[in-house]
């Protein structure tokens, strides 16, 4: 370990004033500025008692099917001596780790394997450049665990990108319009450039289709440049996929006659941004279908797609803003479900089957923005991307919910079939009475009315509204009669569980079951179900900025697990404000985040606790298979 404690402290201090998202290279100028600033450590002091001792071995029987897990310890550092991150790669190839504090039977078998060479190129490299530092930053145990718990009283992520507060708070403010005399052009440009995230969609002929920020006049120059750059590379038969400029990452998705561009200064990886662009593309297909759109462009390459897309800008924007705020569902490409007893879910499923109209393709009961139950044909499962579009339409955008009526919506679900339309019946019901919601509150006050239950019935027959409506009536009547609505209502009221309550249910597995959970947040994805579960955000992550920080950390872990060139099994990251671990196996992915002083063994133990809990509660947390006909 080349870094001493002093240096570590400096790292933490730098983090605090660092305007850059962790995984991207810094601008030298910024760092020079920062070098002058060395604020003292915050109470949640991110670094103490670091020792250069090798990690102690950690060994036990894994309780999962996977017996061996590769570990790559990563932590973060920066050097004050130059304007670059210092890179100290002290990974222990095949070193064994043991949690001294951990019990003997609950920890994962973890093997540390050096999976990356220091100079390796690709996505991971830039991340490693940032995060690989003192790998062996094991802290003194004993005191440590107590401190971990204590440090969680303050925000474990508060040192990550503090300037985020300022810039992020204005992220969703609209950029104004030009004055008639164009006098405010410079101001508007400054506002536009200050946004951390941009999405631009244009046709291959260079016609603007969508921009998250700025009106046509403002973005026309940018569109022109983007179009020129993309077509330059296309002319050379070498499609441009993305590039990095300073702290901004540009990712381009070219699909047929469309170019979609994401510009991010939030530190997301190329693959993550690409997935976001794919979702925006799916939203466009969902409105038009692929053949229709293709036909428009073939008939007239200069087609202005904004006209046929008219009215869906708000759907695209709400998707885009969801990504910018931070969406675990998109990050994990998975769906979140309502936690409900297995038997209760079975009752809902059998009710749906019993009331099923022959015209029905898919039927869903959604509560609190989460899936409660699904009925589907044997041959078809639902694509998470499609569900995400539907959930966005119903719960994020106001179009449907604000109306307060019943809705009959033609939409294409591109994951299911991108060539044709399905027809979706949507009815929001009052969880108290089970009757269709009569009174709509003002929906535009910015507050989400999440306590609603929605019944979605999807048919391939455009004339099936009456049948779907009849089915809704039957379903709701029976759900009311058999108590299911009450169960759903209770599940909504209970909300997501806290980390503490989840980990303390593993009484046998945790020492000191009454103590607060050693971790602040986690994500668990069941690969088989393509669903995920997370705890309540709690006070730590209730603000948009702290939530964004958390998601940025998850994005970084996810990026490391699913790199372009390497697939890691375990990633451990220590930032100035948090310590986090991600672990992937063929059956699940789990991400845990704790305070900065939490050692790897603490995280590994918590991760195991989450996994055990999720496995035990699988049929409550996830909709396993759904009702099939």
């Amino acid at each position: 370990m080349p870094e001493d404690e002093d240096q570590q402290q400096h790292v933490a201090a730098q983090r605090e004033s660092s305007p850059q998202p962790p995984p991207l290279p810094r601008r030298p100028t910024t760092i020079e500025e920062e070098d002058g600033l060395r604020p003292p450590l915050t109470p949640s002091g991110s670094v103490r008692n670091f020792k250069g001792s090798p990690r102690p071995p950690l060994q036990s029987k894994a309780t999962t099917a996977v017996s061996q897990v590769d570990v790559l310890g990563l932590s973060q550092d920066a050097s004050p001596s130059n304007n670059q991150r210092s890179r100290s790669h002290s990974r222990q190839p095949s070193g064994r780790l043991q949690s001294r504090a951990g019990s003997d039977d609950d920890t994962a078998s973890v093997r540390s394997v050096q999976t990356l060479a220091p100079g390796q190129s690709g996505d991971i490299e830039s991340l490693l450049d940032d995060v690989v530092g003192a790998a062996a930053t094991e802290t003194d145990e004993g005191v440590e665990e107590r401190d971990d718990a204590a440090s969680l009283d303050t925000s474990p992520l508060q040192n990550i990108r503090d300037d985020l507060d300022e810039s992020f708070s204005s992220e969703f403010e609209p950029v104004g319009s030009f004055e008639p005399d164009g006098s405010n052009g410079e101001l508007l440009n400054r506002q536009w450039r200050a946004k951390l995230k941009h999405y631009l969609i244009l046709s291959s002929a260079g016609k603007p289709i969508y921009s998250r920020h700025g009106d046509d006049q403002l973005i026309s120059g940018t569109i022109g440049v983007v179009q020129t750059i993309i077509s330059f590379y296309q002319g050379a038969q070498d499609t441009l996929r993305g590039f990095t400029a300073g702290d901004a990452r540009f990712v381009i998705l070219s699909k047929g006659h469309l170019h979609l561009l994401a510009i991010s200064r939030l530190g997301e990886s190329e693959a993550q941004l690409r997935a976001q662009l794919e979702a925006l593309y799916m939203q466009i297909l969902s409105t038009l279908t692929l053949p229709t759109m293709e036909k428009m462009f073939i008939n007239r390459p200069s087609t202005d797609l904004r006209r046929p897309l008219q009215g869906t800008e708000s759907l695209i924007s709400s998707l885009a803003d969801g990504f910018t705020r931070g969406s675990p569902a998109t990050l994990l490409s998975a769906l979140e479900c309502l936690r409900i007893r297995k038997a209760h879910r079975q009752v809902i499923h059998s009710t749906l089957l019993k009331c099923r109209s022959p015209q029905l393709l898919y039927g869903l009961v959604v509560a609190d923005g989460r899936l409660a139950a699904v009925v589907r044909p044997k041959k078809h499962s639902l694509h998470p991307g499609d569900l995400h579009l539907i959930f966005n339409m119903l719960f994020e955008a106001d179009s449907v919910r604000a109306g307060g009526g019943e809705n009959w919506i033609p939409l294409c679900l591109p994951g299911f079939n991108n060539t044709g339309y399905l027809y979706m019946y949507v009815s929001f019901i009052d969880p108290e009475t089970g009757s269709p919601r009569e009174d709509i509150e003002q929906p535009l006050d910015g507050r989400k009315r999440d306590n609603e239950i929605a019944v979605l019935l999807i048919s391939a027959n455009r004339e099936a509204f009456d049948e779907m409506r009849e089915m809704r009536d039957k379903v709701v009547d029976q759900l009311q009669a058999n108590g299911s609505l009450a169960h759903i209502r209770r599940a909504i009221a209970n909300g997501r569980s806290s980390c503490t309550s989840i980990l303390n249910t593993n009484k046998a597995d945790t020492k000191g079951a009454d103590t607060p959970a050693p971790i602040a947040h986690f994500l668990y994805k069941s690969r088989a179900n393509v669903q995920f579960v997370m705890p309540s955000a709690g006070p730590l992550f209730s603000s948009t900025v702290s939530w964004r920080r958390l998601i940025s950390l998850y994005a970084r872990l996810q990026g490391a697990l699913h790199g372009k060139t390497t697939h890691l099994k375990v990633v451990h990251v220590v930032t100035g404000g948090a310590s986090a671990l991600a672990w992937t196996t063929p059956t699940f992915e789990v991400y845990v985040v704790a305070g900065p002083r939490a050692g790897k063994h603490v995280l590994a133990k918590a991760a195991m606790g989450v996994v055990q809990w999720a496995r035990r509660e699988e049929e409550r947390l996830f909709v396993v298979g759904g009702a099939v006909f």
Binding site: L288, M296, R307, Q310, M393, G403, E463
Partner: protein, 200 residues
């Protein structure tokens, strides 16, 4: 089709008109008594029911609030076939929306139920300064085509209930025997694909 039963009339009513004319706002004002300044575009169509008492009967409207976008045009027959009444809405501050309204009238005359009660509503009457469509012009057009005409404001509620009330009064009291459910199968395929390409 409007159906009677003991002076209870069920009537399917459809709102048609250009994007942003204020169809959803009119319905919201009539059904919920509310107005939202920045009403989002309707996606697909929304269905409401609302009962109205007129002198001699109780009319239960089954209201289809359709989306105005061109891409939904091919679905429109599904909503107006079998409808007892239609409100064609335009925005008095937007000449193009009036022209679109005329197109809807033509389409209903050609393909809709011949007994349909049709109303022409010039919405946004609270914005006289921005007016582009003269009330006289619309009135004359309505008379020629056998519609009744009113200028409305969903924002101030002016004339909104009156339009529905007037329709309720004009609904035929004796029903021709026809499919009461109102959902009539279409006699032509009217593929969305085909119609969507014409707006490119």
């Amino acid at each position: 089709m409007a159906t009677t039963g003991n002076k209870n009339i069920n009537a399917k009513l459809v709102l048609l008109g250009d994007v942003g004319a204020g169809k959803s706002s009119l319905v919201l004002r009539f059904v919920k008594g509310q107005f939202i300044e920045f009403q989002e575009s309707t996606i697909g169509a929304a269905f409401f029911s609302q009962t109205l008492a007129v002198n001699d009967a109780t009319v239960k409207f089954e209201i289809w609030d359709t989306a105005g976008q061109e891409r939904y045009h091919s679905l429109a027959p599904m909503y107006y076939r079998g409808a007892a009444a239609a409100i064609i809405v335009y925005d008095i501050t937007n000449q193009a929306s009036f022209e679109r309204a005329k197109k809807w009238v033509q389409e209903l005359q050609a393909q809709g139920n011949p007994n349909m009660v049709m109303a022409l509503a010039g919405n946004k009457a609270d914005l006289p300064d921005a007016r582009k469509v003269a009330a006289e012009e619309a009135q004359a057009y309505a008379q020629e085509n056998g519609l009744f005409f009113m200028e409305t404001s969903a924002k101030t509620a002016a004339n909104v209930n009156d339009v529905f009330y007037e329709i309720a009064k004009r609904l035929p009291r004796v029903q021709p025997a026809q499919n009461p459910s109102g959902m009539v199968l279409m006699d032509r395929p009217a593929e969305r694909v085909a119609s969507a390409s014409c707006c490119s």
